[in-house]
C-alpha cells in the first residue's frame, strides 16, 4: 500500500532564499509524525507546503500516491477537503463565536438540518473538552483553550489528515500533556494521520511514532525515525544533541 503522504526531493524557498532542500520522507496511514527542529529552521514552512499554502520551489508531495504539487488550483480542493489544520495560535476566526467557527465548515460541506449542525458542533467542542463554549468568542478564551478549539475546528469534517502547528507551544506542562493525550486518543479513535510541528521534547517522546529532524545548519533533513531511537542511536550528533537538550545521555536509569 502506498504511503499516506510521500515527499520527494522537496525544496522549500522564499524567493531566492532556500530554507530546506532535498527533503525525502514518507508518512504512513494513522501515524503520528512529528516535524521537529530548532526555532526558525523551517518547520512551519514545511507544514505550509504540505497543506498547499506555499508552492514548493522543487520536488513533489503525494497524498495516497496522487500528486498534490502538480494539481491545478481548482483541483486543490479535492486534496484540502481531507485536511484539518490547526495553526499556531489556533487562528480561530475572531469575529465569530466558537460555534460559528465550526458550524461554518460543516454547513459549507453540505446541507444539513440546523439541529444536526448544532449537535455536531457541540460534539466537536465536547471532544476537546470545551463543551458548552459555543457562544464564546475566541478573544474570551485562554491560549490553551484556543488551541483546543482550533483542533475542534480542524476536526470538524472528520479529516483524514490532521496538521497541528505547535500544539503545545506556550502551554503549561499540564495543559500540554492533556493536549498530547487528546492527540493520541483522536488518532486511536478517529483513525486519522496526524502531523505535528513542534520542538517540545516531552510531546515528541510522548506522541510521535516517527519524526523528521530539520537541521538548520545544513538546511536539509538531519534524521528520520522514531525519536526515542534517534535520541540514542542517531548518526547525526545535532539530532542527538537536540533530543537530549544539548547534554549527552546520562548513564541509563530506568525510564
Amino acid at each position: 500500500m502506498a504511503a499516506k503522504i510521500s515527499v520527494h526531493d522537496l525544496t522549500l524557498a522564499y524567493g531566492p532564499l532556500v530554507v530546506m532542500h532535498d527533503l525525502e520522507f514518507e508518512i504512513q496511514d494513522q501515524e503520528i509524525f512529528v516535524i521537529m527542529g530548532g526555532s526558525g529552521c523551517g518547520k512551519s514552512t514545511l507544514l505550509r507546503h504540505l497543506v498547499g499554502l506555499m508552492e514548493p520551489a522543487k520536488g513533489r508531495i503525494l497524498y495516497d500516491g496522487e500528486d498534490f504539487t502538480a494539481a491545478k488550483e481548482d483541483e486543490h480542493a479535492k486534496f484540502t477537503r481531507r485536511f484539518g489544520v490547526m495553526y499556531q495560535g489556533g487562528a480561530l476566526w475572531s469575529s465569530m463565536t466558537l460555534g460559528e467557527n465550526i458550524s461554518m465548515l460543516i454547513e459549507e460541506a453540505g446541507k444539513l438540518p440546523a439541529k444536526t449542525v448544532r449537535d455536531l458542533v457541540a460534539y466537536k467542542l465536547a471532544l476537546v473538552g470545551l463543551a458548552g463554549y459555543e457562544d464564546y468568542y475566541p478573544a474570551q478564551l485562554s491560549g490553551g483553550m484556543k488551541k483546543r478549539a482550533g483542533i475542534a475546528r480542524a476536526m470538524a469534517l472528520d479529516p483524514d489528515i490532521l496538521f497541528l502547528d505547535e500544539p503545545g507551544g506556550g502551554l503549561d506542562p499540564l495543559s500540554s500533556k492533556r493536549l498530547d493525550d487528546l492527540i493520541l486518543r483522536l488518532r486511536d479513535s478517529q483513525g486519522c494521520t496526524i502531523i505535528i510541528v513542534t520542538h517540545e521534547l516531552a510531546s515528541i517522546f510522548g506522541v510521535a511514532d516517527n519524526a523528521l529532524f530539520l537541521d538548520p545548519a545544513t538546511h536539509t533533513q538531519g534524521a528520520l525515525g522514531n525519536p526515542r531511537h534517534l535520541r540514542d542511536h542517531s548518526d547525526n550528533p545535532a539530532v542527538r544533541l537536540f533530543l537530549n537538550r544539548g547534554t549527552p545521555p546520562p548513564t541509563r536509569r530506568h525510564e
Binding site: V51, L53, V85, A91, S94, M104, L105
Partner: protein, 407 residues
C-alpha cells in the same frame, strides 16, 4: 546578625568585595555607613609590566556615579591580567566597559581574551557575553550600490506596486462577476454587519461634518455675495456645491478614515493571526469571504450616505441663511430651482466609485499587510492615504469629464 558577604550581595546586586575571613560579621547599620561613605569614583588604569598589559580597576562602578576616569596608555597588545584589589561595588557599567574594551582590542582575533584576575561573578558575566562571537554586519552594503541600480530598484518597486493594484482591482471585478453568477461564497451575516458598520454607524459623524460644511459654505458665500446684494444666491451656492462636490467628497473622506482604515486593520490582523490561511485551507476563498462583503457594503451605502450628506449640508446652509436674512422657505425654493436631477445625481454617481476605491484600498492593504502589529498599523496608514489620494484624483477626472460633457 548577617554574614557581611551575603548582606553586601543583597544590597548592591553585583557588589564585589574581597571575601572576608569566615566568621567575620558586621552589623547592618555598620555596613550601611560603610556603603554610604565608601563610594569612590570609578577608575581604570592601563599599565605595562614587563611586557604584559595589565588593566587595573578601582573605585565603585555604578549607574549614576561619577564619570569613569581612564589613565595610562593602552597598547595594541591584548590584556593579560586584571588587577582588582581596589575595586569597590559595581553594576552593569563595569562589564559593559570591559566588553567594549575587549571588542575594540580583539578585532579579528579568534583567541579567547584573558579574564585573569577578575572576580568570579564578573568573569562569569563576561564569559557569557563573549560566548557567541560578535556578528559583523556591513551596514554600508545598501548604500554602496550605484545610483543607477537604486533607480532601477525603485522603478521595479513602483512597477510592482502598480501591478499589485491592477491585479487587486481585477480580482475584485472577477469576484463581482462570481457574485452575479451566484458562485461567490460568503456569509450573508458578514455583509449585514459591514452594511451596518459603514451605513447606520457612520450617520452621526456624516451628519456633523456635512452640517458644518453646509454652514461654512453659506457663511463664506454670504460674505461675498452680500457685497453685490445677491445674498439669495447663497442658497444656489450651498446646494450646488453640496450635491456636486462637497457632499460626496466629504463623505468619502470620512469613510476612508473611518471604514477603510477599519477594513485594513481588521483584515491585516486576521492575516497576522493566520486566520486567512485558515480560511484558505478550509476551502474558502479569502477574497470572496473578506473583500466582497466589504466592497458590496460600501458600494451600496456610499450613495445613500451621499444623499443624506447633501440634504444635511443644505439644511446647515439653510440655518445660516435664516440668520442672514434668507427665510427658510425662500432658501428651499431657491435650492429646488438651482439643482436639477442631473446635477444632484452627479455626486451620487461618483459616490459609487469612491466607495469602491475606499473598500479596495482598505482591503488590499489589509490583505498585503505583514505579520506584525507594526505592519498592521502601516497598512492602516497606507489604506487611508491611498484612498484619499485616489478619491481626489478620481474627483478631478470626473470634473474634467463632466466639463467636457457640458454637465
Amino acid at each position: 546578625m548577617l554574614c557581611a558577604n551575603d548582606l553586601r550581595h543583597e544590597i548592591s546586586g553585583f557588589r564585589q568585595t574581597a571575601p572576608l575571613p569566615e566568621g567575620f560579621f558586621i552589623s547592618e547599620p555598620e555596613l550601611q555607613i560603610m556603603t554610604a561613605t565608601d563610594v569612590q569614583p570609578p577608575h581604570a588604569i592601563w599599565r605595562q609590566d614587563g611586557g604584559v598589559q595589565i588593566l587595573e580597576l578601582a573605585g565603585d562602578w555604578r549607574r549614576g556615579g561619577a564619570e569613569v576616569v581612564v589613565s595610562g596608555m593602552a597598547t595594541e597588545q591584548p590584556i593579560t591580567r586584571y588587577q582588582t584589589d581596589a575595586l569597590g561595588s559595581f553594576d552593569s557599567i563595569l562589564p559593559a566597559f570591559l566588553l567594549a574594551n575587549l571588542r575594540s582590542l580583539a578585532k579579528g582575533e579568534d583567541a579567547a581574551p584573558s579574564l585573569e584576575g577578575l572576580p568570579a561573578n564578573l568573569r562569569g558575566l563576561l564569559e557569557l557575553a563573549l560566548a557567541v562571537p560578535e556578528e559583523i554586519v556591513d551596514q554600508n552594503v545598501a548604500d554602496k550600490s550605484p545610483a543607477m541600480m537604486r533607480l532601477g530598484k525603485l522603478s521595479l518597486r513602483v512597477w510592482s506596486s502598480a501591478t499589485n493594484v491592477v491585479e487587486f482591482v481585477g480580482q475584485c471585478s472577477l469576484a463581482l462577476v462570481r457574485l452575479l453568477t451566484g458562485r461567490a461564497r460568503f456569509r450573508s451575516k458578514d455583509l449585514w454587519v459591514c452594511v451596518q458598520e459603514c451605513g447606520v454607524e457612520a450617520l452621526p459623524i456624516v451628519t456633523l461634518i456635512s452640517f458644518l460644511i453646509g454652514m461654512i459654505l453659506a457663511f463664506v458665500g454670504n460674505a461675498q455675495l452680500a457685497n453685490f446684494g445677491a445674498n439669495l444666491l447663497v442658497a444656489d451656492l450651498v446646494s450646488i456645491a453640496m450635491v456636486r462636490e462637497m457632499g460626496v467628497v466629504m463623505t468619502a473622506i470620512i469613510m476612508s478614515g473611518r471604514t477603510g482604515a477599519a477594513f485594513a486593520a481588521h483584515i491585516g490582523s486576521m492575516k497576522s493571526n493566520e486566520e486567512i490561511d485558515a480560511l484558505r485551507t478550509s476551502g474558502f476563498d479569502p477574497f470572496d469571504f473578506l473583500v466582497l462583503p466589504r466592497l458590496l457594503a460600501l458600494i451600496l451605502m456610499m450613495p445613500l450616505l451621499t444623499v443624506y450628506s447633501n440634504v444635511v449640508g443644505i439644511l446647515g446652509g439653510m440655518m445660516v441663511g435664516s440668520f442672514v436674512g434668507i427665510p427658510a422657505v425662500l432658501f428651499w425654493n431657491e435650492t429646488l430651482l438651482s439643482i436639477t436631477l442631473t446635477t444632484s445625481s452627479l455626486g451620487v454617481i461618483k459616490s459609487v466609485f469612491f466607495g469602491a476605491v475606499i473598500a479596495i484600498s482598505g482591503c488590499m492593504q489589509g490583505m498585503r499587510a505583514g505579520k506584525s502589529s507594526a505592519a498592521v498599523g502601516e497598512a492602516t496608514t497606507h489604506a487611508i492615504v491611498a484612498a484619499i489620494t485616489w478619491i481626489v484624483v478620481l474627483d478631478s477626472a470626473f470634473a474634467a469629464i463632466f466639463t467636457l460633457l457640458g454637465i
